[in-house]
């Protein structure tokens, strides 16, 4: 059963097409990540869903009803703003009670609701504080509380973590996820941070230049990117260009510009220009060549090493002048030296071939 359905939404500002014919569905209780680089139209899309912006075209359904013509105050959505948008002239209590007062709830009930929600966000006892007395993380939670207290059918979050420092961002992320699951509230979470999206979302919608590029679970999107854009945007990728062929036995071969040939698995027609995606963690560094049926093996030289604590990244230059990024986990300080000759190997099944458009 789907809670939100977005159909063929289009919106342009002047000559800029911000959202270009976008459609997707959000299931009840699901947390959907809306991910893309800045300027891709994801925030515009979120504001269209909230009713703050009118689309030029398209329909939005919520709980089976058309809401496209409804103003924001009539929609069953609550938005958590990027800068929180807490009212500076009101204290914590009044900020959270703002929407309840509009609903004309009796004071007793308002007090109860505010208490409840403050307990959920872990800020009981801050009712009488002014907004300025709160830290960034606390303000974030109050903003969330103000949205949740309205018991919206759909919670919309517009880059809610971008104003927090790295450590707090991680904590708050886990905590938002926990609250969302506990309340079972359908949510749409806009972010430009792929790690954030991967970790928190049930499903991810990837947008670029106003269009949806791919929709899928975090695992699906990471392991099976459908385009160079997704492969490049999500995680780290080696992307090589070349032409696909097949040998006599029907096995796929991928010829690089340098003339080197890789073995791949692919159904794409012979002679097509393609891109090859290999994640760095699939590539192994070897001291000596071990031929294997299921692996590609190449010779290369270590060009650069980045030490990141739990992982080392190597840039390996191949004979044909292409470079590959290779990651190695759990070894501490690198055993290899810059300029050292190495063998690299990766399973044929780890190569993903994408047709160029």
């Amino acid at each position: 059963m789907c809670m939100v359905e977005v159909q063929n939404i289009k919106k342009s500002f002047g000559r800029v097409l911000a959202v270009d014919n976008v459609s997707f569905k959000v299931k009840r209780g699901e947390l959907l990540g809306l991910l893309g680089p800045s300027g891709c139209g994801k925030t515009t899309l979120l504001r269209i869903i909230s009713g703050l912006i009118n689309p030029d075209q398209g329909v939005i359904f919520m709980d089976g009803k058309v809401v496209t013509a409804l103003p924001p105050e009539k929609r069953p959505t609550s938005l958590v703003f990027q800068n929180y948008a807490l009212f500076p002239h009101l204290g914590v209590f009044e900020n959270i009670a703002f929407g309840l007062r509009i609903k004309k709830l009796p004071m007793k009930e308002i007090r109860k609701e505010v208490q409840n929600i403050l307990e959920i966000v872990g800020l009981l006892g801050t009712e009488n504080r002014s907004i300025r007395q709160l830290s960034g993380g606390q303000q974030q939670r109050i903003a969330l509380a103000r949205a949740l207290v309205m018991k919206p059918s759909v919670l919309l979050l517009d880059e809610p973590l971008s104003n927090l420092d790295a450590k707090l961002r991680l904590e708050t992320r886990l905590y938002i996820q926990k609250v969302q699951k506990a309340l079972g509230i359908t949510s749409i979470f806009v972010t430009h941070d792929q790690e954030e999206a991967l970790s928190i979302s049930d499903r991810i919608v990837i947008m670029n230049k106003g269009k949806i590029v791919q929709i899928g679970t975090p695992e699906g999107i990471y392991s099976k990117p459908n385009s160079k854009f997704t492969a490049y945007f999500i995680g780290k990728s080696n992307i090589l260009s070349g032409i696909i062929r097949s040998d006599r036995r029907g096995n796929g071969l991928f010829t690089l510009a340098s003339g080197q040939v890789l073995r791949v698995k692919s159904d794409i027609k012979t002679g097509t220009k393609c891109s090859l995606v290999i994640r760095p963690e699939y590539i192994q560094l070897l001291d000596e060549a071990k031929e294997s049926e299921n692996n590609n093996i190449f010779v290369g030289w270590v060009e650069h090493i980045t030490y990141l604590g739990e992982v080392n990244y190597y840039r390996i230059r191949l004979e044909g002048n292409e470079t590959l990024l290779v990651s190695e986990y759990g070894y501490g300080v690198s055993k290899k030296l810059i300029g050292e000759k190495v063998f690299i190997s990766w399973p044929i099944s780890a190569c993903l071939v994408l047709q160029d458009h």
Binding site: N54, A69, P71, P72, T77, A85, H89, I102
Partner: protein, 603 residues
Amino acid sequence: MIFNKQIIHKSKYIPAILLSPGLLILTLGFFIPLIMLFVISFYKGVPGSGLMVEEFTTGNYLRFFDAYYIEVLLRTFKIAIYTTILSLILGYPVALVIARSSGKIKSILLAIVLVPLLTNVVARTLGLMIILGRHGPVNQLLDLLGVPKINFIPGELGIIVGLTQVFMPYMILSISSVLSNIDFSLEDAARDLGSSKFGAFWKVTFPLSMSGIVAGSLFVFLLSFSSYVTPRLLGGGKVMVITMLIYQQAMQLLNWPFAAAVAVILLILSIVLVTFYTKATTSSKLIDTPVYGDFQKNHFSFQDFFRKINDWRYDRVTAARLAVDVLTQKSALIRVLATLGLYFGKFFIKTWKIFIVLFIIVPLPLVILSSFSASSMITFPPTGFSIRWYTGIFERMEYVRSFLLSLRLSLLCVLISVSVGTLASLALARYNFRGREIIRSVFLSPLMLPAVIVGLALLRFLASIRWVATFQGILLAHLILTTAYVIRTVSSSLVGFDNSLEEAARDLGASAFYTLRKVILPLIKPGLIVAAIFAFIVSFDETTVSIFITGGRTITLPVRIFSQLEYGLDPTVTAISSLLILMAVIALFIIGEVFGLDKFSIK
């Protein structure tokens, strides 16, 4: 596939609805009168009769090129230019001090500059009449020094000194607002690169403040060129300037078409100046952060000049030091004299800025001092102490009536213009529509045009609907001015307003009206309070426009004391003026409490 069209909940008519009350007032009180003025300037007048023949002639304009009127124009120019130069020379150091000071000192200095601006111009001119008078403190000081007395008033010299005193605050505020945006570390960098303290100022800060100088100068020039009250009172009616010519032709010789033609000429001059002024103030942002190439181009010609001045200063300083060295060895007496000379020199260098600051403020305490004099002659220092001029106010019913009239007018102005102006400001700040910037400047234009023109235009219009010297006529006149002030103040407090707060309220279920009431208005409350104070003060103090359109039993308080002063000093006027000064101080105090003085500009 279902496509539905543009949604209804954001109507295009909202800005039009918000703007319409303001535009209605402006049309009635400003546009129609100005158009009528323009039309009349081409009619044939019958001097002395107040009658007009409605046939097209350019005769009124041609007549202005008579030697006498050209002389009036040139005299006005001369007075305005001297005033501008004097304000710049005296105002710049004060602006520098204000920009570089902070905390309490800055607030005090700003208050000293701002109190006169909020004080009624008649009250301020009264202070100048006392200071510059034949037996005033300045002439007493000259007498003491054995220098012959100077006849400041009535005369051009008095007008120039007076206008400088009256308008210098605008110069100071223009320059100090630019100076406070200049990064002080630039001067430190210049010092670090080897410039002297003065050299760093002269090569870095001064050129960067040029936009403030240009804007301030144009503004002061425009104001002094088109002022009426101060030249009329300090010139004793004998020094004819262009505004007095307009008043005389319209009100005394009853030659409406010619008065209208002179007003149109003044109007065109003003529009030219305002255009330059707007250019100077809007381009100031570019000058604040100069691109290196531009900086070189603009200021290269100065460089040699600066170097020469620096060399010259260096030579002088060394020469002086040598001379002191030689002299101090010669005799003890000379040493004592030299020390004393240096001491006073230093004292003067340290304190001359204080003298300028005193010059700005001193007429006001002087008026207050004089108001407690026991004698019916206004002398300085005042003789004896009495409050009889204050109690005397209540014995003169015309003053009480005028006071009550002004009070009613001002309160009504606050009520109407704050609501009308706030609506218009919301439309201008929240909505994007065609012609928005034009409408904004249209609303502010009554402040930029000479009050004499507005007064004359309104007089003709009000006469045609028989509203001259009526309450509603004066109210209309004041409303076009106070609404402009409200729009400017409220707009500036809407500038920093975070749009997402409004969106958050809508998202939480608030209607547009609820959002306005519970979110927008509470957040711009300081702006509204200041706007209300401005509206009150502007209406209560308005003089020049009102001079044209009041009369009979409806004479506002400032006009009443102005006409009294036209015939000479009157101690009751000093008492009333003191109360007006007190009102300005209270207003400034409230503004300072609500807003903070340094965030505040009155231009």
